[in-house]
Amino acid sequence: MKGRILLVEDNELQRQLYREELEQQGYEVEIAPDGDNALAKVAACKPDLIILDVELPNRDGIETMRKLLEDQPDLPIILNSAYAHYKSNFISWGAQAYLIKTSDTSRLLEEVRRVLSAKHEKVIEK
């Protein structure tokens, strides 16, 4: 198993698309349809990486990220949003990457690979 990913995404079709792509690459994928759900699941699912949409009902991705990082500052998070404007702003919050959603999922997969291998190296160093 290459790693466990918590996919936080409210759009059902995109959930399906990303899940298929990620599972094809050998990742284990858990799903959360909104921010609250993600916060509730994270303790039990212990993901290696979270892919987080920004536009989410109830608690948006930014607020969810803040809460997640409060408890686990080292948790790798990739923000994945159809909004382009905030691209640069949230790296400083502690996200590993901010991606603008695209039909070319290879970019997301590449980012996932990069982040997880970086995490892996960190663990080995320790």
Binding site: R59, A84, H85, S103, D104
Partner: protein, 614 residues
Amino acid sequence: MIFGAIKQMADTPTISIADGTWCLSTCDAPILLLNLSGEIQDFSAGARQLLAPGEESLRGRPVSHLYAHEYSSDFLEQIQNLALNIPHTFFCRFRVSSGGVLPLKVVARRTDCLGQPTIILTLFDRSVEEQLKKEVARLKGELKLVYQRVEQMVVEQASPDEVSQFEISVLHQISQALLSTIELNKVLYIILTCVTAHPAFGFSRAFLLLVDEENQVLEGKMGVGPRNVEEAHRIWQELSQAHWGLDEFLAQYDRLYPDGQLPLDSVIQRYRQPIRPNQDILVDAVLTKQALQVDDAVNDERVSTECLEILASNHFVVVPLVAGERALGVIVADNLYKDQAVTPWDVRLLSLFANHGAMALHNAATYAKLRQNIQQLREIQEQLIQSERLSAIGEMTAKVAHEIRNPLVTIGGFARSILKGLPADSTMARKCEIMVEETLRLEEILSSLLDFSRQSELKLEYCNLDELIGRSCSLLRDQLQQKKVRVVRDIQKPMPELLLDTNKIQQVLLNLVKNAVEAMPEGGTISFTAHLQGRFVSLKVSDTGEGIPSDIIGNIFNPFFTTKSEGFGLGLAICRTFLYDHGGNVSVTSEVGKGTTFDILLPLPSVSADTAEK
């Protein structure tokens, strides 16, 4: 009222006038009080001195017995027909107890004293004036005649009695006039006109100087009066024919000075002296808040050479305009063209009047300042409306781009995954490739056209959060007051300066405050609390309003979501976008019936600098 302050003169008899008390029996001014049948009800010491010295009382005598004219019945009829509270001037002759006949000017006024209809007659002895007239007549034909006539006309209009005898009605008129306007220039003009107008104080000239608090100087502002002897002569001749009351004098402002410049303005505007001791007598009056009198300016050490040169007057009086604890300025009055001394009585009355004038001046200045503030607020609000419009357009565009991109991602993404399962070079694969390429092309169009149409550049500057909050609240002060909303601020001290786009953050605060006010139709409290939280400042904006139901609270930041009948539902969406632009955030908690709290995170400068670099 001014008369309240004059009451400490004697015990009885007293009559009540307006809300003050005038002690008639010891008053030097000759005043008679009549009932409507013309019988003398009361009289002043001055009246007895003038009309019946040595006699015990005038009380009960019909005023008609005093007339020296055969047509005295007309006089009684005239005063009986006076309109209430409007002063009227007569010229007549009274027989006095010594057997002589006294020429008089009589100002009659019908009023109510202690519920009784009463006629107040104020008498002005014209005998000196009459004698002078005879003297002038005797000298007729002589070479100096013209000059003497000028002098005589001057004296005619200002016999010593007239200057020292203050008419009751005039004080009322002055206070009414001062209450009638809050325009600074008009108040200044009324003050000076009262000082110079013949029916009031009747000084030759009056000047008004104001304290410039910021620069600590006393500056000349306005001057009323003739510029030279010829003009004095001409004006007095006109006035002696016009028989104006104070109202008429005041009504001349717009006619005489359409450009707002009074003839003596330029004279006094040359005066500008720092406010410090031993500078000049006018400054002394400001510092001591005391009325000061100068009887020989040339030899008076208190009078500076500048002051002497500007006023060019050897005797004058300076009274401070004191409102509360502060001297706002001074009035300077003189009798330059009348060549008569200023009496202590003049100074005393002028001081009383000056207190009244100072209050009016203070009000006018406050009003002027207020008006300026309102103008500034209006301009800022205009700018905000404009920037809000732009933000709304940006927000809509971003929303459109977002809504289109999401299905494109799905279409293109699935097309790609289908393509992976198709044999290469097959017709289906080629068709699928077209779908993939076309969606990518559309995505690129979106990126280039729509994503960056929204202005997201920040104009970052260092700012004080507390001040920014204060400024935002002052922009909405009217609404806050109207809806009885209290604002409480609790900002952790010391609070570092933040690097923000102040316009955008102000817009965020305005939006939140506006929403809070709307959520509290019965009034309440908005509290701002701020403290440092890691790399951020957490600013909580709470209201005590109706709260947001839990089923909609998740949507309030979404563009076009609204519960209001007006607006597009972009307010909070824009707030969040602006905070995102800063690398900040906003979240909300609410309890129905208790209130709502917006928790804003603003990055500390090192964080926002990172954001700006990227």
